[in-house]
């Protein structure tokens, strides 16, 4: 019994070490969203000038699994993910809607002309970005998977990379499309 007691500090150390190890591998930027499994926020966003759509509203998300991507012409990481979004659009697997966050709509439209336009619909959310805040956005780019009933099912923080798409987002979309 006494012997076991001597092992107690080792056990306590072990447990703490596990916690700290887990902490070391977590990305502090990836704040778990509280909006998962909740309906998309009510929004009614104006269109980008010259794009020809009518903007983005909550009703537009009903009936199909879709992606909502937060971008801005000022956002550098968006430039990185954008070609891949264009590729995803070409596959036709899922419609992507854009929210031009904290941006001058003219710049937002220009940016899409320059880097390609993967979006079905685009809504403008100028500062103070009420809709983005309703989505719990912490930075751009961020991508949400919204199901047929307009419930948010997943939030991806940072650029959508081929790995993230194939390993995480695509399987969720396939599951939701069943």
């Amino acid at each position: 019994m006494r012997r076991l007691l001597y092992l107690l500090p080792v056990a306590v150390f072990g447990i703490l070490a596990l916690f700290f190890l887990r902490g070391l591998t977590l990305n502090p930027r990836e704040i778990p969203s509280v909006l998962i499994n909740r309906p998309v926020p009510v929004m009614n966003l104006a269109p980008l000038p010259g794009r020809g759509d009518t903007g983005l509203t909550t009703a537009d998300l009903k009936g199909r699994v879709s992606l909502v991507n937060i971008y801005g012409s000022w956002c550098i990481a968006c430039v990185q993910e954008h070609p891949y979004l264009v590729k995803i659009k070409q596959t036709g697997i899922v419609p992507i809607h854009g929210i031009d966050w904290r941006d001058d709509p003219v710049e937002g439209a220009k940016w899409l002309k320059k880097h390609g336009d993967p979006y079905d619909r685009v809504g403008v959310d100028p500062a103070p970005g009420r809709t983005a805040i309703d989505f719990g956005v912490t930075g751009a780019p961020e991508t949400f998977i919204v199901d047929k009933d307009s419930i948010i099912r997943y939030k991806h923080i940072g650029p959508v990379t081929p790995e993230a798409w194939e390993q995480t987002l695509l399987p969720i979309i396939k599951e939701l499309n069943k």
Partner: protein, 155 residues
């Protein structure tokens, strides 16, 4: 003297807040409430700063929206709930006391109790120095001690 003056100035200077005057509410009572709440809300970009201290755009947006809500007549709790509904408890610099944060709040005290208990048990079990009875010196030992002491005097 110069140093003293500098020290005094630094001590008296209020830390500058990021809120620029154009963001501030006209009603000083509401503005104070908004500032107090803003100091409790984490900036999601810089993470260890409050939205009141941060220069990030998102922090500015949240400051503006917090003030709008106060101006509409919402209470501090309502405004706080609005932000927590979107960003979770993580946004609170002072985490609330509830089921999921029990370990966070009580963990250190539990560890302290365990440590004090262990120390107590350890010291109680160890025979203390005073507890061993003092055996008086025998005549032979006394004689040797006296001899040694005398020896020390001479050198």
């Amino acid at each position: 003297m110069k140093r003293l003056a500098l020290a005094l100035m630094l001590a008296v200077a209020a830390p500058a807040l990021a809120a620029d005057p154009s963001e501030m509410l006209k009603d000083p009572v509401l503005e104070k409430k908004a500032e107090d709440l803003g100091k409790e809300l984490r900036c999601l970009v810089c993470q260890n700063e409050s939205i009141e201290d941060s220069n990030a755009d998102l922090a500015r947006d949240l400051r503006v929206i917090v003030r709008e809500r106060f101006a509409k007549g919402e209470s501090s709790d309502q405004v706080k709930q609005y932000v927590v509904d979107r960003y979770g408890d993580y946004v609170l610099l002072n985490p609330p006391f509830k089921g999921t944060t029990l370990v966070l709040w009580l963990g250190p005290f539990a560890l302290l109790v365990v440590a004090v208990g262990a120390a107590f048990a350890f010291f109680r079990r160890r025979p203390s120095v005073n507890a061993t009875p003092v055996v008086p010196l025998s005549t032979e030992e006394k004689r040797r001690l006296d001899a040694l002491l005398k020896d020390g005097d001479r050198s």
